[in-house]
Amino acid sequence: MRKFVYAAMFLILAMGLVYPLAAEQPDPEELAYESYETAYFQGDDVRWRASMEIVDDQDRTRSRVLTILRKNVGEESQKYYAYFHEPSQLERMVFLVWTAAGMEDDDRWLYMPATDMQQRISGRQKRNSFAGTDFTYEDMTGRHPDQDEFEYLGTDEVDERPVYVIKGEPRDPDLVEFSYYEMYIDQETKLPLKGEFYDPQEELHRTLRLPEFEEIDGYYTPTLQVAENHSTGSKTTAEMSNIEYNLGIGEDIFAERYLRRPPTQWIDP
């Protein structure tokens, strides 16, 4: 009987020790949502200038310089307007994207100044290259967490900052080129400092990194991002500058009317 009491006491004690530890383990889905909100949903609107350099496996470089306007519409919808300043062959090109959580495809329009044509383009493929860079459309507008199932992997460090590591597996693998990804989320800011995407053979084929960020207008904001495609050996570095939140950008400019005619109050063409 005494042995039974001791065993029961040991079990209760052990559970008492284990339970608080288990309770401290973060919910991976909650982490994914927090990270998504921090990286893509801060402020009512934001404007920034992105200077991108694409270096291929033979060290040849190309550039993209663009101004991006983003406006949150409602709880989970956003509109993006991207105006290209450089290179000269893409100057005045405009991407307009309406994206919403729960929708399989975005609404996208493209204005090509070379042909002076505006057209609606398919928005199902969110994993295509964004304007010839190693970033995808989804890297620019964010991958909504409800598209994946998450698993908590533990903690680690990225650039000497403590991070949570979670694994995301797509609910619909047919829509993406990866089989799963691991996301390294900064414990303090909740920014995704690194994302590693693995192909169906479980080989690392893409890495996204966020080596630099700043607190701007009270929001933690990426100022340097790097996308590497390990399959092609190509790498794109994007420097963000002139970042301003809550400018009062009207929703009306995210429309076809402004594809040919950039809104000069927000964009210096």
């Binding site: 190309r62 609606r120 398919s122 995808t136 009317r257």
Partner: protein, 429 residues
């Protein structure tokens, strides 16, 4: 009546003067590109000895000034200096000289020379009656040249009830078709160059244009609205057929001309099963031939077109499009032209278009294939192109154009000996 053009110019310059240039966004920096192009025809060279159909350098210079109130002054000039020793002269074209003026919060006025298009269809023009440059298309020039510019006054009204576009063109602008100047064309069963075509048609002008009076101008209209994620549009047009499809048959004065035409139609475009689907329909009413009895006039046509484009993978896109044309009556042509050989005699025609685009190296290299086929008249055209972004400034294009037809008088039949390879190098600055 000749005052209409000076009037349009006056409107353009008044609007230009009204542009309150914002120093923050005003800049004088000429942009553009230089594009040498070269092509080799490998089919029957016909009467034109030189097999180079595209041996030119196009220089585009452009600039846009943005005013403080949303005004845009848009200028684009195209120069094509003649090659050394060539018989042709230097060419210079104003591609765009327009002023956009936001007259009110909901109304934009765009006046001047401009290239306009609309409608969801790809390379079939159901409700788009703006001038087209088929010469450039069939020579292998960049597709931007397919849209020919015209002088126009355009009003764009944006409202809660939809967007309305009204365009008045004071002077009719015809399509630019291959007429044998660089591409030999089949005419009367023979492969002829332009001079030989003129000889065959006699000293009389082969084509007559509508007068430049305002009554012979064009009016285009479009209303569009988004319902959910689908865009619905209605169209109207009053003007002339872009191609000289009319044939004067009084027996004394033979010439072709652009018959008067009115057209009305609708289109629908939106996301469907992961891609973009579109449907477009129109009725082209050839004026003065309500009973289909006039000789030398083409018939009224009903158009129905459906298309679908989707991304198969992030780097592979497919498109297909079917265009049904139903001729209401063709009495004039039946009596005037050999019935067996003329494709317009088919009451129903079906045109199929298939296209695919594949990109490699993070979109640095793009391969395109686009095929056109006339299912009733048995003609087809295939365009293959590789487009490589060499650097920020240099883009290289190489492609080929292929044609074949059972009937020389069909859409691609006149070009069936014009298979060609082409290359272009565009330096942007």
């Amino acid at each position: 009546m000749k005052l209409i053009k000076p009037f349009v110019f006056a409107v353009v310059w008044l609007l230009a003067a009204a542009v309150s240039v914002n120093p923050a966004v005003a800049q004088l920096r000429i942009r553009g590109y230089a594009e040498p192009a070269y092509s080799v025809r490998y089919g029957d060279a016909g009467p034109i000895d030189d097999r180079n159909t595209l041996n030119e350098t196009r220089i585009m210079l452009e600039n846009q000034w943005y005013g403080g109130q949303g005004e845009v002054l848009d200028l684009r000039f195209l120069a094509k200096p003649a090659a050394a020793g060539a018989e042709v002269e230097d060419e210079f074209e104003v591609r765009q000289a327009s002023v956009l003026y936001p007259a009110t919060r909901d109304l934009d006025v765009i006046a001047g020379r401009q290239a306009i298009d609309w409608g969801p269809a790809q390379y079939e023009f159901v409700n788009d009656h703006f001038p087209k440059d088929y010469r450039s298309f069939f020579l292998g020039r960049d597709l931007e040249y397919m849209r020919a510019p015209a002088d126009a006054l355009r009003l764009r009204w944006f409202s809660d009830y939809g967007n309305l576009d009204l365009i008045a063109m004071p002077e009719f602008e015809p399509n630019r078709n291959p007429e044998g100047e660089v591409i030999p064309v089949h005419f009367d069963g023979e492969l002829l160059d332009q001079e030989e075509v003129l000889e065959k048609t006699g000293d009389k002008p082969p084509r007559r244009l509508p007068s430049s009076s305002p009554e012979d101008g064009e009016v285009h209209a479009r209303w569009s609205e988004n319902y959910g994620r689908w865009e619905v549009a209605l169209y109207g047009y009053r003007g002339f057929m872009g191609n000289p499809a009319g044939f004067n048959a009084d027996g004394t004065d033979n010439f072709v001309y652009h018959p008067e035409m009115a057209s009305g139609g609708a289109s629908l475009r939106g996301p469907f099963m992961g891609g973009i689907a579109w449907l477009e329909t129109s009725f082209d009413d050839i004026r003065h031939d309500e009973a289909g009895e006039s000789e030398g006039l083409p018939s009224d046509v009903y158009n129905l077109l459906v298309g679908y484009e989707f991304d198969h993978t992030p780097t592979v896109t497919y498109m297909f499009q079917v265009h049904w044309l139903h001729n209401y009556d063709s009495k004039g042509l039946r009596e005037d032209i050999d019935e067996e050989n003329h494709p317009y005699e088919k009451r129903n025609r079906y045109r199929l278009q298939l296209a695919t685009e594949r990109s490699y190296m993070s979109d640095r290299l793009t391969l395109r294939a686009r095929g056109f086929a006339g299912l009733q008249v048995q003609d087809w055209h295939l365009r293959l192109e590789a487009d490589y972004e060499w650097s920020d400034n240099i883009r290289v294009y190489a492609g080929s154009l292929h044609y074949d037809a059972d009937n020389e008088a069909s859409r691609f039949g006149a070009l069936q000996d014009h298979d060609a390879f082409y290359s272009r190098l565009r330096y942007s600055f």
